[in-house]
Symmetry: C2
Subunit: 202 residues, 2 copies
């Protein structure tokens, strides 16, 4: 699930086609109003064929949610490991996290808005990754507070506020708006650094 | 949620009960899965009585969404008028906007997550208020850039990022979590000021 779903084509593996079709249907109709038939027809498959891959539409939502969270977490961790300097690490993390949300805004929107539709077992799986995402930011804020490069009051709430810059763009961002796509990652990264950088005067 | 003064006095309590019941039902079940019967039973009314006040559940969603946006916009405008100093105005705006979202997180969550369920006419009404909300923040950022108290690159994207601090809390905030309720408004206000304040060195 590297890129936003496009119309299903025969050359794409069936599972990928199904996930893309499900993102499209959940995004347009809402999860509750989407039927297995809606997803099947968008994927160019029979409803019976859908069940070969996924027992129910909740399984599709979970697959989308699990992979989306796993990718987003991987983006943050890899950015976090890109430097030893806390402000540089934070800059890269916010840059790449916003970039991921810009490129995957439809997936991210479904994942965020339909979280309550997951079974409790599946929700627990996703909750663990969401916890790890917040912790990845907390860790760099603590490193910055420790070496004096950052001034942080309330680590966890500040981490949540920083993540909000990237995550909340799925509420208003229109996929394909290339001007935003180009400047948002750099802008958000700079804003996040200003939020916590120790002032030059201190 | 405040009631509209123009409504007949006798109908006010019933209408309030209905809106509260609708927020509760939409929040728990999702808009698409909620029936008029669900709302009626939570409000202690018959389904027929619901129709006396609102023709359909979309009317209830619109009433919730319209009043929520109107209140949130009023909070921002009143905070914006509280000072002539741009950084002080921004601090108060973000403080009060976050405070409103903390106190109305269930309403705000329904309003944000179910925007696509509104009719196109109702969505246009709400879109105008959302536009005004972004513009209220743009205006104070422009004032700060003009008098040199702020350094702002990309006014509109920065306004959206600042609003995200308050709006995105409805995604994770649990109503009744009093520790967050107490410190989030002040924290978000301070973070927003740091995002745009002209550095002491310049």
């Amino acid at each position: 699930m590297k890129t936003e779903p496009s119309r299903a084509t025969a050359s794409v593996p069936a599972r990928d086609r199904l996930l893309s079709a499900a993102v499209e249907a959940f995004g347009e109709l809402g999860y509750a109003s989407t039927t297995t038939r809606d997803i099947a027809s968008r994927a160019g498959m029979s409803p019976a064929a859908v069940y070969v891959h996924h027992a129910a539409k909740e399984d599709l939502l979970f697959a989308i949610s699990h992979e989306g969270h796993r990718e987003a977490l991987e983006v943050l961790r890899s950015a976090s490991a890109s430097s030893t300097e806390p402000l540089a690490r934070l800059h890269r993390m916010v840059h790449d996290f916003t970039d991921w949300h810009v490129r995957n805004s439809r997936i991210a929107r479904v994942v965020q808005y339909e979280l309550d539709a997951l079974s409790s077992e599946h929700r627990a799986d996703v909750a663990e990754m969401r916890h790890d995402i917040v912790n990845a930011v907390c860790e760099v804020l603590e490193a910055g507070a420790n070496d004096g490069s950052m001034q942080v009051t309330s680590t966890r709430s500040t981490a949540l506020a920083i993540l909000s810059l990237s995550i909340d763009l799925v509420r208003w961002y229109k996929p394909g708006s290339s001007a935003s796509a180009d400047h948002l990652p750099g802008l958000h990264a700079a804003l996040a650094v200003r939020m916590v950088a120790a002032s030059a005067a201190s």
